[in-house]
């Protein structure tokens, strides 16, 4: 009986305390409700600013978090998303002890306007070519890109790469082939073209035909080996070979004619595309590559080589209407390399030209090192000062279409990775990027 009374007493006391507690809860807390909206809500790209509008109710204090890190305490905020990815945005709304939170996901994507690829030659007797995905605007550099897309290595040393109608064409040597990938995905789906392709050097597209300059063998022993292969881009087969002695290197289409810079003859070949008839424009030196201007005329690099020495080196200018060699602009030491030696800037006001110059070393000796000369198109003259000089292992020059920076490819060794030195237009070094072995040119697609 005593036990039963005691239990009753305890229950009554507890009930009384409970009523007291209920009285305290009944002090009315505000009904805080966290809420936010953001614009734009879709199609957000890297670098975009997103506005976050606070629609919370009954709140006096706000905390904004992005990926669990506090970013602001303002009511409404804006965030600039510098990188692509998914961001978890949380708003914590408070009013005294009243707290509420809400979370939403913001998807930031990246669709660059241009994509650039650096072609790394590799080594003729060793490593095959590799590709470096390169987008300096967003500090994106990815070596081994071809392999990462195709899960296999390239099997050739690429002499030249070219974008045409949404396809990248590569002139592969050792093994000799013209192979191609989708310019958007970089996927290769078919074997390269090997029949009638021997030592391909360069190419240019015209309608459904890809013209490929081929050396055809050891051109230095017999200049008659070389030819132009016509590749039908519908069937991806060589449909004709146009015999062209003299080691055609760079090609260009202008005024309905195919121009071929001859590396073993002091002339530029002009091929009438209608009938394949070849005529020649005499040049003061052997030539290698072209740059076409708005009037469809051609700047051509003029070289002095061991087999064809000349003291008239530099750039030449060919009028393609009259097919005459109109002028030459001297530059001693212009590169004889089979790499990207000419790079026009975006408005073709300057042509960056690979060359070499003598540089005095710390020990007083003079050595020949790489440099980049600048040809000013308006004044038709090379600038007195080199853009850069004293670069050992210079291996190509390119202009980044996105940033306008001048990229100098460097490859001192045939077995070690090379690098790209990015210079601003004023000549100051911006940054260096490690690439694959022997970078020599850049390919850009819109």
């Amino acid at each position: 009986m005593k036990k039963r009374f005691g239990f009753l007493a305890i229950t009554m006391v507890a009930s009384a305390l409970a009523f007291v507690s209920c009285d305290k809860d009944d002090e009315k807390l505000p009904e805080v409700k966290a809420c936010f909206e953001f614009t734009p809500a879709t199609d957000i790209e890297k670098g975009d600013t997103v506005s976050f509008s606070n629609c919370s109710s009954e709140a006096e204090k706000y905390t904004w978090k992005s990926n669990n890190e506090i970013v602001a305490n303002d009511e409404h905020i804006s965030i600039v998303f510098e990188d692509e990815g998914e961001y978890i945005i949380t708003l914590i709304a408070e009013n005294g002890n009243a707290v509420d939170s809400v979370t939403q996901s913001v998807l930031v994507s990246y669709e660059p306007e241009t994509m650039s690829y650096i072609i790394n030659y590799g080594s003729y007797s060793g490593d095959k070519s590799t590709i470096t995905l390169f987008n300096e605007a967003v500090n994106e550099v990815e070596n081994g890109y071809y392999n990462s897309v195709n899960n296999t290595d390239m099997v050739s040393n690429v002499q030249y790469a070219y974008e045409y109608n949404g396809t990248f064409f590569f002139m592969g040597n050792n093994a000799d082939q013209v192979f191609y990938v989708d310019a958007q995905t970089f996927e290769q789906t078919k074997n390269g073209i090997t029949t009638d392709i021997v030592k391909p050097r360069y190419c240019v597209g015209n309608e459904n035909t890809l013209y490929v300059s081929c050396w055809g063998g050891d051109i230095w022993t017999d200049i008659s080996f070389s030819y132009i292969a016509k590749v039908d881009l519908i069937t991806n087969e060589v449909t004709a070979k146009i015999a062209l002695p003299g080691g055609p290197e760079g090609l260009e289409i202008a005024n309905g004619k195919l121009y071929a810079a001859l590396n073993y003859m002091d002339s530029v070949a002009v091929i009438d595309l209608a009938n394949n008839v070849i005529s020649y424009i005499a040049t003061p030196a052997v030539s290698s590559y072209f740059v076409k201007d708005e009037s469809e005329n051609l700047y051509v690099s003029l070289l002095s080589t061991y087999g064809n020495p000349s003291d008239k080196t530099g750039l030449g200018y060919i009028n393609t209407s009259s097919d005459t060699f109109e002028a030459s602009y001297d530059l001693a030491g212009i590169s004889t390399g089979y790499v990207n030696i000419l790079a026009p800037n975006n408005d073709l006001s300057k042509i960056y030209t690979l060359a070499s110059s003598w540089v005095e070393e710390a020990d007083g000796t003079w050595v020949q090192k790489g440099s980049v000369a600048v040809f000013d198109v308006a004044s038709k003259a090379f600038e007195t000062a080199m853009f850069v000089e004293g670069v050992a292992g210079i291996n190509g020059v390119a202009v980044d279409k996105t940033t306008g920076n001048i990229l100098v490819m460097v490859a001192e060794s045939a077995t070690a990775n090379g690098k790209v030195m990015s210079y601003k237009a004023d000549g100051t070094l911006n940054k260096e990027y490690e690439t694959g072995i022997a970078p020599f040119m850049m390919l850009t697609v819109e």
């Binding site: 093994a175 000799d176 070499s356 440099s371 292992g393 060794s413 990775n417």
Partner: protein, 683 residues
């Protein structure tokens, strides 16, 4: 009859024991012994006298072995004691049995099979050697007084050195420029010919056939009267080289690797003639001449990608060599002298080009050796080389280059336990300066008992290499004043030789440190590729060599092994993306070979295993050649038809586990292959 050659005495420690065992073996058969005639230096003696002499000689040899180290471990190649003035240096001679097994092949095959020396090979058509991680240019390959390495390229294609033409092979590990001149930074190879001084005529004819269209036809003719000797050796080697391999090149049509493939357009066609005329005026006064003509052609092996994608692609390479060396030597008196002269013509033709890359060399060497006492001797000499390049890219003003070397060698034995040597060499090159090159060696017999000898060796040697003609004069890129490559080699070794009852053997361990400065590499300069001499490379390591012989009645078993641990690390080079502090490309950190041969009467069987650790192929951490171990077996049988006629058969099976492997990245090597050879000897 048996033939005892004087250099038998000079075999490795343990050979004395081996000789004893051989002798015991002979003595067991009394009938044999009673018919035994000793032919020594042209003397034919009655059997009793011969037997008495033989026994006394064996005692004398044994006495020499136990009491005096002077003649122990001397390595004699072409009758030249190349170790006499090089105490403490590691000099090895390929054992006769191994040499015999490799005789149908080339130098690359022999080295790959029996030594841990690095070799980079392209399926038997082109191979280069890498002693202790140094470059192919750092090993001299010596034929008489000629270093056969190309003056333009700096090295030799050791696939084009046929073992059939030679009788013996010596290998020197480490620097030896003080003795061998420019180029011997990492090692030296000595191609040896023996003198037989036949009376009358004897001949050897050899034919071998093997997998992938391999054929060797060779003949050796020996004729003379004991004073005059003519030796004609000729061979023709051909191999289609159309072996199968797995080709991993990706086929985008079939969505997989091309898979099984056949090597195309990699055939080899080598021919050679080696003619000797030798005169023995009197004992130890002789004139020797040798003319070696080689015409080697091969289709350059293409990488596996081109092999499958451009199957008709062919690229030829042809070598023409003429090497002549003559010597007159008089070693009868305390003042000995040797006068040699020679001529070398090398011409390499790529893809039938008419652009010439050839050199002519005229050589002369004179030296005199003086034995001040039985323990003290020295040698002085002068070597002159006149080089005329005929290379299409060289400046026409470059007519010739002269190289003169003055050298001095000193040899001292102290208390019959210590051998000291010193070598000094100074070279003079037209418009070029080469460093003074000293070398010092010590050999100390720590313990010498009836059944064992323990020795300690130490050697220090400076070395150099004059840059090749291409390095200095090629087109506009050559740098005439490129500094010479220089090496410093430190060597410590311990050697234990034993002879217990029926067992004898050797074990040698060497540690070395080799520092090479001004290592020349061609780099992309700014206007094309140019030679640079900035790199510095350190090579160090441990090498262990062991072999032993076990005799039991008519059985003889010879096991052995080689092991090398060789970190070779570039410490300085040009280019800020170059890899430093990591193992050099195409140099395995570990190499080993194990071999076992067994002989029973005229039957010989052997098994060997060679191992190469993984190798970098570039200055990246990809495209790494995996480790590879190859088992090979051989069996030989010789049958004596009668007193004058003998026939021998030998079969070799290489790579018996049928392993796909590469020695050069992207270039396949053959799977299992065999070779069968028949050798007929008359007299």
């Amino acid at each position: 009859m048996i033939f005892i050659e004087t250099n038998f005495i000079g075999g490795l420690v343990g050979s004395g024991c081996k000789f004893f065992m051989l002798l015991a073996k002979q003595l067991k058969d009394v009938r044999k012994v009673t018919h035994l005639l000793l032919t020594l230096r042209g003397l034919q003696l009655p059997r009793r006298v011969a037997l008495a002499l033989l026994v006394s000689l064996s005692i004398s040899l044994n006495a020499q072995y136990t009491n005096d180290t002077v003649h122990i471990d001397e390595v004699v190649i072409s009758s030249v004691n190349i170790s006499k003035f090089q105490a403490g240096a590691k000099i090895e001679k390929i054992p006769t049995k191994q040499f015999e097994v490799a005789k149908d092949g080339n130098l690359e095959q022999l080295i790959s099979r029996y030594t841990p020396i690095g070799v980079k090979s392209m399926a038997g058509s082109f191979s280069t050697i890498r002693f202790r991680g140094t470059s192919p240019d750092h090993t001299s390959i010596n034929f008489g007084g000629i270093n056969i390495n190309s003056m333009t390229l700096g090295h030799s294609n050791i696939s084009n050195v046929p073992m059939f033409l030679f009788d013996e092979l010596g290998m020197q590990f480490g620097s030896s420029s003080a003795v061998n001149g420019s180029g011997s930074i990492g090692g030296a190879i000595h191609l040896g010919l023996k003198n037989y001084w036949v009376k009358g005529f004897k001949t050897e004819m050899r034919m071998a056939i093997g997998s992938f269209g391999e054929q060797l036809y060779g003949t050796k003719l020996f004729y003379g009267n004991g004073k005059f000797e003519g030796v004609t050796r000729a061979y023709w080697y051909r191999k289609e080289n159309n072996f199968s391999f797995y080709n991993p090149t990706y086929n985008f049509e079939s969505k997989g690797a091309y898979g099984e493939d056949v090597q195309r357009n990699a055939s080899i066609d080598n021919k050679g003639l080696l003619q000797e005329f030798n005169f023995l005026f009197k004992s130890r006064v002789l004139f020797k001449s040798k003319i070696w003509i080689e015409n080697n052609q091969h289709l350059i092996q293409q990488n596996m990608q081109r092999n499958v994608m451009n199957p008709d692609y062919k690229e030829t390479y042809e070598d023409h060599h003429l090497r002549i060396w003559t010597t007159f030597e008089n070693r009868r008196h305390r003042i000995k002298y040797n006068i040699g002269s020679g001529y070398v013509y090398d011409n390499g033709i790529h893809n039938e080009t008419t652009n010439k890359i050839a050199t002519h060399r005229m050589l002369a060497d004179a030296n005199s050796e003086y034995d001040l006492t039985s323990n003290t001797s020295f040698k002085i000499g002068v070597k002159q080389v006149h080089i005329i390049p005929d290379v299409y890219t060289y400046d026409s003003a470059l007519h010739h280059e002269n190289r003169t070397d003055l050298y001095f060698s000193y040899h001292q034995i102290i208390l019959r336990k210590i051998k000291l040597t010193a070598n000094l060499r100074k070279g003079y090159v037209t418009n070029y300066t080469v460093p003074f090159t000293p070398a010092f060696g010590l050999s100390y017999r720590v313990y010498s008992g009836r059944a064992a000898v323990l020795k300690f060796n130490a050697n220090f040697s400076r070395s150099y290499r004059v840059p090749t003609f291409n390095d200095r004069f090629w087109g506009t890129q050559g740098k005439p004043h490129l500094p010479p490559e220089e090496g410093l080699n430190y060597e410590l070794g311990v050697e234990y030789s034993y002879c217990y009852d029926v067992l004898s053997g050797n074990i040698k361990a060497n540690v070395f440190y080799l520092d090479v400065e001004n290592w020349i590499l061609w780099k992309n300069g700014g206007s094309g590729w140019v030679p640079e001499s900035e790199p510095k490379v350190k090579s160090k390591g441990i090498e262990i060599v062991s072999d032993f012989s076990f005799f039991l009645s008519d059985f003889e078993i010879n096991p052995g092994f080689n092991f090398s641990y060789n970190p070779v690390v570039p410490e300085k080079t040009t280019g800020d993306t170059a890899v430093l502090g990591r193992q050099l490309e195409y140099v395995p950190l570990h190499g080993a070979s194990v071999f076992l041969s067994a002989n029973y009467k005229s039957l010989n069987v052997g098994i060997d295993y060679s191992y190469r650790g993984e190798q970098y192929t570039n200055q990246k951490y990809e495209d790494i050649l995996p480790e590879v171990g190859l088992f090979n077996v051989s069996a030989g049988y010789s049958y004596k038809i009668n007193e004058y006629n003998k026939i021998a058969l030998r079969v070799l099976v290489n790579n018996i586990l049928n392993i796909d492997y590469q020695s050069t990245w992207d270039f396949p090597m053959p799977r299992r292959n065999f070779r069968l050879s028949i050798t007929y000897n008359f007299k």
